[in-house]
Amino acid sequence: MDGVTLYIVFAAVLLGTAAALLRHPREEKGRRGPRSEQAEEFFPIHSRYFPQVRRMLSPEDVTYMSDRASPALFRRWKQSLQHAGSLYLEGLREDFHRLNRLARVLALRSPKLRPKQELELAWLNLRFEMLYGIVRCRLWLGRPAEQYLAKMAGLIGSLGRQLEQTSLGLTVRPGALTP
């Protein structure tokens, strides 16, 4: 590809990206200015249900089912567990995004930012997304994941606690962020 074609393609791609970024997200149509910060928007929802998910994924259940169920039924049961684990992982990611959005709101409303800190937050977010993808693959391959999901849920919960203590008075009621 010569220089001229490269310039043309690059300009077209940049314009297309700009047009896509200028489109208002569907839920934001009709809303003026920044999104309003409702406390519920930042609540970690899924990590609250970890005790139930932990029981569902416990190794005792696996032993029990492998002893009593037929191979076909056991296989189906394992598949269901995998599916539930993936859905829960998806929920944890959603929780993470909510808290991440709180971090951005904090930055947006701060009179002064630390550029290094902002770049690091963006980088950590990117890394989380990549790692999440890999963990999801492992879950899909049927590797045990209960303890890792527990760690993730705990982590998101403690993140919520810390942010709750330092929030800007965004009408986040006490206990709202903590699972």
């Binding site: 001229v4 314009l15 810390q162 330092t166």
Partner: protein, 256 residues
């Protein structure tokens, strides 16, 4: 009517269209949120008027017109840069922390593109192609800066409201057409001069359409955001960062 005549006709339609958009901007009191952009619209009308005065006096293909065109083009280009800076300030300026951060990034990206243009200027031989090359690189700086603004706005959950969205789209659209047409002209694709002029004139008519559409109704009142303190940002974002890092480390542990 042949193609070059169509080009001249479109060129002639530009002056009244620019005047109409300029009047619309004044009626909507656009200067209250975008003073440099409003000044750019006025400058457009003045320069287009001066160009037409030369055309009527000396002719379309006269050296006087070519000289006037190429000497006024850099003025308009820098005015467009100032207009884009105005859009950036209007979009993020209310959020002082984010605006300071964005301003640094925007200046760095624009400076990089200008430096790139200056370094590669020696590659062109003729004065005209030298100016076209410089213009293309500066338009690239405009387009990149616009994209950076939009990415940052989206990252922080902000959307460009009317009239900023239409004005930004117009600036980006015209810059991309200039980049594409200039690249074809500079390159070996042998674009004719009248086709080059026609493409630009049509692109500018479309751009004026975007701007007029964004100014179709009275401008919405802007609400001042509720700002927090530096301390809450420092402690809050520190907590997020530490937890993200920890979470990433744990996820990394899963890979082992």
């Amino acid at each position: 009517m042949d193609a070059p005549q169509i080009g001249q006709l479109v060129g002639a339609a530009l002056a009244p269209a620019q005047l109409a958009v300029c009047v619309l901007a004044i009626v909507r009191r656009l200067w209250r949120i975008l003073p440099y952009f409003t000044a750019y619209l006025m400058l457009l009308v003045l320069i287009e008027g001066a160009r037409w005065a030369v055309i009527l006096g000396a002719g379309m293909n006269s050296p006087a017109h070519m000289w006037t065109y190429w000497m006024t083009q850099p003025v308009l280009l820098f005015a467009r840069g100032a207009a884009l800076a105005d859009v950036c300030r209007a979009a993020l300026g209310l959020y002082t922390g984010v605006w300071r951060f964005a301003r640094t990034l925007l200046i760095l990206s624009a400076a990089f593109m200008v430096a790139f243009a200056v370094i590669h200027m020696g590659e062109t031989a003729r004065v005209t192609s030298y100016l076209i090359f410089l213009e293309r690189e500066l338009e690239f700086a405009v387009l990149l800066s616009l994209l950076l603004l939009l990415v940052m706005s989206r990252y922080y959950g902000l959307t460009l409201e009317r009239p900023l969205d239409g004005i930004a789209l117009g600036l980006g659209f015209y810059s991309s057409i200039v980049i594409i047409s200039s690249s074809i002209l500079i390159g070996s694709l042998n674009l004719r001069w009248w086709a080059f002029s026609l493409a630009r004139s049509l692109a500018f008519v479309v751009t004026l359409g975007f701007w007029a559409f964004s100014l179709r109704a009275p401008l919405p009142e802007r609400e001042l955001p509720e700002m927090g303190t530096v301390e809450s940002y420092e402690s809050g974002s520190q907590a997020v960062r530490d937890r993200m890092r920890e979470l990433n480390q744990r996820l990394m542990g899963l890979m082992k």
